[in-house]
Subunit: 235 residues, 2 copies
Amino acid sequence: MAAAAPPPPPSDVPEPHMAPLETTPIGHPMFTRIRLATPLDVPFIHKLIHQMAVFEKLTHLFSATESSLSSTLFLSPPFQSFTIFLLEVSSSPIPPLLSPSPSFTPIEKTFNFDLPLNDLEKDAFSVHYGSDQVVIAGFVLFFPNYSTFLGKPGFYVEDLFVRECYRRKGFGKMLLSAVAKQAVKMGYGRVEWVVLDWNVNAIKFYEQMGAQVLPEWRICRLTGDSLQAYQNANA
Amino acid sequence: MAAAAPPPPPSDVPEPHMAPLETTPIGHPMFTRIRLATPLDVPFIHKLIHQMAVFEKLTHLFSATESSLSSTLFLSPPFQSFTIFLLEVSSSPIPPLLSPSPSFTPIEKTFNFDLPLNDLEKDAFSVHYGSDQVVIAGFVLFFPNYSTFLGKPGFYVEDLFVRECYRRKGFGKMLLSAVAKQAVKMGYGRVEWVVLDWNVNAIKFYEQMGAQVLPEWRICRLTGDSLQAYQNANA
């Protein structure tokens, strides 16, 4: 399905949900869609998080299981608590969702690349819609935070991850923009996330997207035994 | 009601919710309680946040109103979204709540101070329980966050504030400990917050409470016009 042998352009399959390409595509079209994740996506989410831990050389801190994710995610309606957008890609137009969420209209965008993308892991990240197959290329996990100074909520982006073969194509920007757009739609005041101070490329990218990097704040974390010690604290 | 003319110890008013002092108090007893805030507390919360903005010399960033707080807080059950603990203090035993939340049992602690505390603003922060009057001394606002590596939620502490005349008495620790205790009770993996890097006293205090300060992470913030620019973003 991937770009090694791209199918013809989709002119013979009118898809009301997908605007036709304005010109005959040259090269390798890639149809993309951002949609809400559902409980059925947990196996993909688990694999994506694990890949992120490998990328960050932090597998020693990785202890999430499909079970721990299933029991803690999807307990609230979208955007009210932990929320995940998935990025789906396909070399063919992506069929509409059978059960779209009333909370979010998927964001679709068609790219056209000079070179084919060779996804060696596509089988492990494939979603089947009837006879159609699309591939999960990345995700963003975010949840509401709150600014008391503004007196309004915002979104905090915990994770933004694009699988290796899909990087440097604008997909990270697409996922983060989707969160920002949702924040504006909901009247929220901020979107925040964190970056490692030595990751100058990421910082440059975020600044180009309009973000400020706050130099003075440091994260404090109470976890593990130090947190458990408060179990019987009489404050 | 404050400590200028402290009442006698409460031996003549047995309060089943409040363990009697084990020894006859010497000095100035202070009864304290941490309870969940309710929509009726919004005027206090607004004043507390404003005092925090004054303390941090950040009033130019303060735009919250009682109305914006009322319309964005208390929309979810406690701990599922933005949650506020208030610290109440009194020189007399604090009467039990008429409508206690099933989600949280108030935390009570009695202090005994050598010197009276003179709260010049007590009228502005007084809560009346029948003929009893207690004073709001501080608050903590927190909400769930999520660690994908742990595959479980935590709490993020957005604000921790104790009014000036009540500082350096252990009340900040009491409020933060209450959040940590609640996190342990819920099986959560972390409690996190931020601190300014030059605030060495705060950093020392947090480290003594068991927190690690993460040196490498920086906060990125998309807000104002830079955020609004995403309103019509096609990702």
